[in-house]
Symmetry: C2
Subunit: 200 residues, 2 copies
Amino acid sequence: MFSPLIEDLIRALRCLPGVGPKSAQRMAMYLLEKDRDAAGLLAHSLQQAVEKVGRCGRCRTLTEQVVCALCNNTRRDHSLLCVVETPADVLAIEQAGNYHGLYFVLHGHLSPIDGVGPADLGLDLLGERLGERENGGIVELIIATNPTVEGEATAQFIAERARTKGVAVSRIAHGVPIGGELEYIDGGTLAHAFNSRTVL
Amino acid sequence: MFSPLIEDLIRALRCLPGVGPKSAQRMAMYLLEKDRDAAGLLAHSLQQAVEKVGRCGRCRTLTEQVVCALCNNTRRDHSLLCVVETPADVLAIEQAGNYHGLYFVLHGHLSPIDGVGPADLGLDLLGERLGERENGGIVELIIATNPTVEGEATAQFIAERARTKGVAVSRIAHGVPIGGELEYIDGGTLAHAFNSRTVL
């Protein structure tokens, strides 16, 4: 119904998560009718990001720098390393604001069925980091992978490797969220909360 | 928290209608982590569309061609012309599938307070179209602007001009939608439906 270039744009917008055919059409019409400058800027930003953003050489988070700002920050505690699955997890932890160590981003979890092994998660690089002894090296490895079957398996795998390097390993706590009401918490979480109860 | 290029991308994605800070962040992470090819394609499509898509010389709808495919289609009824506010309205009518004439897109409605006058809506071009006499010219002008205050005012303005050119003018019907239940229809629509009742 639309001309070829507009159809192409609508199809391309559908690659965005949560955008279906109607939203894509609405976005295309909005950009072409009301805000061509923003559309041009978006095209430029996308291209720049796709071309230049890679992974930090130390923590593997997304960045266009060789080593990211977090890893370069000398005011952070370089003896703590937190392992997370995605760069968005880093943001979530940073927004909580009480962790001041460094991060290591796996970009996924172990999943033999999808062909994702230790090498894909950068566990060799993590092993090197744990082996470094300059300035005291890493003292504690905090594993914050998701509490899913794959996330737990990944946590166990990493914990075993870290122990052989003589590094203390911990896992973030799982249980009833603060502010949550027991009535609305799922059974799996409640069962875990009982099993992992702490002495008062 | 993210590197500058990623922050730029998140900010640029927020120009899309219905996309807030969280969605923009999710989209940026998705594109950079999972689908860089799609991101590159989207950048290319946006740039092409912004550079090349203009307005059809006859009906003013969005197209990269000089005259759009609808206006060039000789199998359509060139004696009927339907006036709509936006290119998306053309799509909606085409999807309904029972109108086979041509269109004229205003790209808005008369709105003195926003400085939108007849020239901005291409009413000079519409006047020329109505004055053309080749192949019988336009026999009926169907006005399908939105049933808002501005849309109605625009409809009245165009109708008066068209009558001076000796072209029959009609307005699409407004009332209770087919499949709608009276109980849930707003008062304005019901009042209009009563005032515009037809003889059975």
